[in-house]
């Protein structure tokens, strides 16, 4: 296809601002999908995405559109909507020349919009604002345009106004895409360089790579090489998204499509890698590639020890679909054998966990998540710490560093006070506060990642009655007063409950954890002492008083079976208990401490 007729673009939008609906309209108008085949919202097809209303995996659609008698190929490249997938967003944007900044006419600019717009700017894309849902009575298009100018420093006057629902303005929008988004550049006669901007796993076809041809052309049957991965393959099938996979003979410079090359698992490819022809040994990689880096870790254990193998099988299976998810075996005194799993972020962790339970049926216990820390030892070595158990003896530690992020929150200005308090309670450093529109404020913090991976978003929602949105970006690792806090039960350490915390937060955090444990651990026949300790110092303590007396009820013939059944329940309940010394800790307790609130 002639380069001049190609337009590659993506839609940047906050959740629910109408990205999927707009994509549906595009497909309708360009008749890419026959009406009767059309499922609602073609682009969001994973269950989980639908449930959570987010796009986890970038998808694509190639549409033909005729303007002024000339046929254009519009390639819509969908981007994931969450910061956990930041790198994936960047790579998807790198495959485009333009981006539609889609903003809900009644909701206005949200944190995610700000964040993704910055990524699009960094990628040098032609960005233009599209105000959606103008059919709504509550639409305040002009105000929203002003917000866009203020918050994003993007010229508002060329904004398009559409209703993805009624279709109003959508044709004009397609015209504008043709007019305003520049055609792809790239060297037609140079050796092939194609960007892998996404990959998915299909049960029948194996790995499907989503690619953008940057230079040269790719023909079916070509022998190719993945540059960073340094693996060789044959291009078994290439094609375009209609949005169903539709094979073509070749893809030329500037085109977007898919490649199937007999790659077995997603962990064999890395988004951002460059595809070259095997014979072109002198080719250079495209810029921007970064190896995967998990930022959040937690232990995942089977509830029943016998389920270890099933859990492992399930994890392997998950990894087929998700190259960003990592796992290595580990063992815990309290929980037995399990895995330390790494995730891009908290949402990613939740998604994996849900899939794991939904698809494998293995009951799992998850330990408190922690971020990756860095420790500089007195020998000058830098250790990556993924689990509290990896922390060396305190005397060997020169610096204990944690990841710090730049956090943007967009909120109605009535909630600024509450957000300030929340940010500062979580060790955030206030950076800025800007009015982006009437009554709407953008607040910036620099804040440790560990403080927001947990329940920060829930808290933010609750203090702003659901009105605030947030987004963050990793900045760097910063040394701080970090320590390992151990939890002791009758003097014995329960490794699965250990956490890393800031010195100043240990006491309240320790107290909160112990309070939860106190509720979850039943009374024993002896006193159970719960302690939180930092080094040798006890920072919090709770006792569970022993059972003093059972109910002295009547016990006659009819009660004997009943008594036995009560006792049997105890026996059965034992499977869901972990013994620490003589103390029984229910599996539930390990989960409950995750939501301990200090």
């Amino acid at each position: 296809m002639n380069r001049d007729c190609i337009r590659n673009f993506s839609i940047i939008a906050h959740i629910d601002h109408g990205k999927s609906t707009l994509a549906d309209r595009f497909l309708d108008i360009t008749r890419t999908v026959a009406k009767r085949d059309q499922k609602k919202q073609q682009l969001d097809d994973m269950d989980l995405e639908r449930e959570r209303g987010i796009t986890i995996k970038a998808k694509a659609a190639s549409m033909d559109y005729i303007k002024d008698g000339k046929k254009y190929r519009l390639n819509l490249i969908d981007t994931p909507g969450h910061v956990d997938f930041n790198y994936e967003v960047e790579r998807a944007l790198a495959a485009c020349e333009g981006a539609l900044l889609l903003v809900d006419a009644s909701q206005g600019v949200e944190a995610q919009t700000v964040h993704n717009t910055m990524l699009a700017e960094q990628a040098d894309l032609m960005i233009f604002p599209v105000i959606n849902k103008i059919d709504l009575a509550t639409a305040r298009s002009d105000e929203v345009i002003e917000e866009i100018e203020n918050a994003l420093a993007i010229e508002g006057e060329r904004s398009m106004k559409v209703s993805a629902k009624t279709g109003e303005g959508v044709r004009e929008l397609l015209d504008a895409i043709v007019d305003r988004v520049p055609p792809p550049e790239g060297l037609q006669d140079a050796p092939l360089r194609a960007l892998i901007y996404d990959a998915e796993f299909n049960d029948y076809r194996g790995v499907i790579l989503h690619i953008r041809i940057v230079d040269g052309a790719l023909t079916a049957g070509a022998r190719i090489r993945l540059f960073e991965g340094n693996t060789r393959h044959e291009a078994l099938e290439i094609g375009i998204f209609r949005p169903a996979l539709t094979p073509v003979k070749s893809l030329s410079t500037g085109e977007v499509g898919y490649l199937i090359a007999n790659i077995k698992t997603l962990s064999d490819v890395r988004i951002g890698d460059t595809i070259v022809l095997d014979k072109d040994s002198a080719s250079e990689a495209l810029p921007g590639y970064r190896p995967a880096r998990s930022m959040v870790f937690c232990g995942i254990y089977p509830v029943q020890n016998g389920e270890f193998d099933n859990l492992r099988t399930a994890l392997i299976r998950l990894q087929l679909n998700d190259s960003a998810f990592t796992f290595t075996p580990e063992s815990s005194d309290a929980l037995g054998f399990g895995f330390r799993c790494g995730f891009l972020g908290l949402l990613h962790m939740e998604i994996v966990q849900e899939r794991l339970e939904r698809e494998s049926g293995v009951d799992i216990v998850q330990t408190a998540p922690n971020v990756t820390y860095e420790i500089l030892t007195i020998d000058g070595e830098v250790l990556q710490i993924h689990s509290p158990s990896e922390i060396p003896d305190p005397t060997k530690i020169e610096e204990f560093r944690e990841p710090v992020v730049k956090l943007d929150i967009v909120t109605p200005d009535t909630h600024v006070g509450a957000i300030m308090k929340l940010g500062i309670d979580r060790r955030g450093r206030f950076l800025k506060q800007e009015y982006i529109g009437p009554g709407r404020v953008l607040i910036g913090f620099r804040i440790p990642l560990s403080e927001i991976i947990f329940d920060f978003f829930d808290k933010l929602k609750s203090v702003t009655r659901g009105y605030a949105t947030m987004d963050y970006e990793l900045e760097n690792f910063v040394a701080d007063d970090l320590v390992k806090m151990r939890i002791l039960v009758n003097g014995e350490e329960v490794d699965a409950l250990s956490t890393i915390a800031h010195q100043s937060h240990c006491e309240p955090r320790g107290r909160a954890i112990l309070k939860v444990l106190r509720k979850e651990i039943r009374r024993h026949l002896f006193k159970v002492a719960l302690q939180a300790a930092v080094g040798g110092k006890i920072v919090a303590r709770e006792d569970i008083a022993p059972v003093r007396k059972d109910v002295t009820a009547k016990c006659y013939g009819g009660d004997i079976s009943r008594k036995r059944k009560l006792l049997e329940k105890q026996k059965a309940g034992k499977k869901r208990l972990k013994m620490v010394g003589n103390v029984e800790i229910p599996q539930k307790a390990f989960l409950a401490v995750l939501s301990a609130d200090d």
Binding site: L525, K549, A553, K554, C555, G557, D559, R564
Partner: protein, 377 residues
């Protein structure tokens, strides 16, 4: 022998009872004897007979006599057998006492619950404190056999004075045996419904803990032995019938809701009196639940009920029932509990030290959780 009639149902009570229908008394008595006739004859003679309920004290002496005669037509009463009749204060009169005595009843069990008029009324009992006292006076004066009184403790707002007052009434009349039951909220009762709707119906556990010390030491001071967590007896006044349950021996229960144990079988009857009567008249089975106990089940039960008694569980008996395997099965629990001084072996009994007896259920639970091997046959 379960007699399911009560003048009215008390708000806390979940026993298989129905509002009294005197017209049904005769049918019930016949039905009880028919059911009894269908059960395998007892090999040995009867050591104890218990007319419980419900309120068997409502039955006319003639019907009780019919029952006793019917029982003895199929198996012999051992000499010195204990025959207990459960009665309410409203059933007691001088005539009734002498009639019961003539029938050969050896022991009365009277449900007093409390002497507090307001509490009795709240529970829907048909007597007040004075009637309770009057009934006890009659018994104390005219009854030659043994007797026992039930007290309920732990109802809402009960003070320690209330409790000692109730106890004192019994002590004054030298009750040979006193059962002290902590109020429990049983599903299906009015009390349960009140609690579900948010009313406070019970005393908090922390009070119960200290009240237990109060009533047990009080009774101890007057010469009573706490021979089971809820039962106190003067010397020679223990309930032999109940002890058979607690030793997990075999027993035959007849009547609506009654359960029976003939190892390895355990069964219980339909609880609904009308259904029960229909089954009997249609010559159909009255049992609605039959189970076959595994040795490990029985071992767990033997501990569950036996450890609640002062004597504990007889080791010879364990050996007889389970061979050596019981020791293997219980080894971990025994070791742990002995270490914690919550278990001892005395006079060839496995028992809980007196100070820990009130924790018997929790202690039995340790065995439930540590029991590993099912004992072999």
């Amino acid at each position: 022998m379960h007699v399911p009639f009560c003048t009215d149902r008390c708000t806390y009570c979940a026993f298989a009872t129905m509002a009294d229908r005197p017209a049904l008394h005769r049918d019930l008595v016949d039905a009880l004897l028919l059911e009894y006739g269908r059960r395998p004859a007892l090999e040995a003679g009867m050591e104890t007979v218990y007319f419980g309920g419900g309120t068997p004290g409502l039955l006319a002496p003639g019907l009780l006599e019919r029952l006793l005669n019917g029982l003895q037509a199929r198996s012999r009463l051992e000499t010195g057998a204990e025959i207990t009749l459960e009665v309410n204060p409203t059933n007691v009169s001088k005539d009734a006492l002498s009639a019961w005595s003539e029938l050969g009843i050896t022991r009365l069990s009277i449900g007093i619950q409390t002497f507090d008029d307001a509490v009795l009324a709240g529970f829907g009992r048909h007597h007040d404190g004075d009637l309770g006292r009057a009934a006890l006076d009659l018994i104390a004066e005219h009854w030659k056999g043994l007797w026992s009184a039930d007290l309920l403790v732990g109802f809402k707002d009960q003070t320690s004075q209330d409790l000692t007052f109730d106890l004192a009434q019994l002590l004054k009349r030298s009750a040979p045996h006193i059962s002290v039951y902590g109020l429990t909220i049983e599903p299906g009762t009015q009390l349960h419904e009140q609690a579900r709707r948010g009313s406070v119906v019970r005393l908090e556990d922390t009070y119960m803990d200290s009240y237990d010390i109060l009533w047990s030491s009080y009774l101890h001071g007057f010469g009573y032995e706490r021979y089971e967590v809820s039962n106190f007896a003067l010397p020679e006044a223990r309930s032999r019938h109940n002890q058979a349950y607690w030793r997990n021996e075999d027993y035959l229960g007849i009547g609506p809701g009654a359960s029976s144990s003939r190892h390895p079988l355990r069964w219980s009857n339909l609880r609904d009196t009308k259904q029960y009567l229909e089954q009997i008249s249609g010559n159909r089975d009255t049992r609605h639940h039959v189970e076959r106990l595994q040795p490990s089940d029985r071992l767990l039960e033997s501990l569950g009920v036996g450890l609640r008694t002062r004597d504990g569980v007889d080791i010879d008996e364990l050996e007889r029932r389970f061979g050596d395997s019981w020791r293997i099965a219980l080894a971990a629990g025994i070791q742990q509990l002995k270490q914690q001084r919550l278990l001892e072996e005395v006079d060839n009994n496995l028992r809980i030290p007196a100070t820990a007896l009130t924790r018997a259920d929790s202690i039995a639970a340790v065995f439930a959780r540590t029991m590993e091997l099912p004992p072999s046959q």
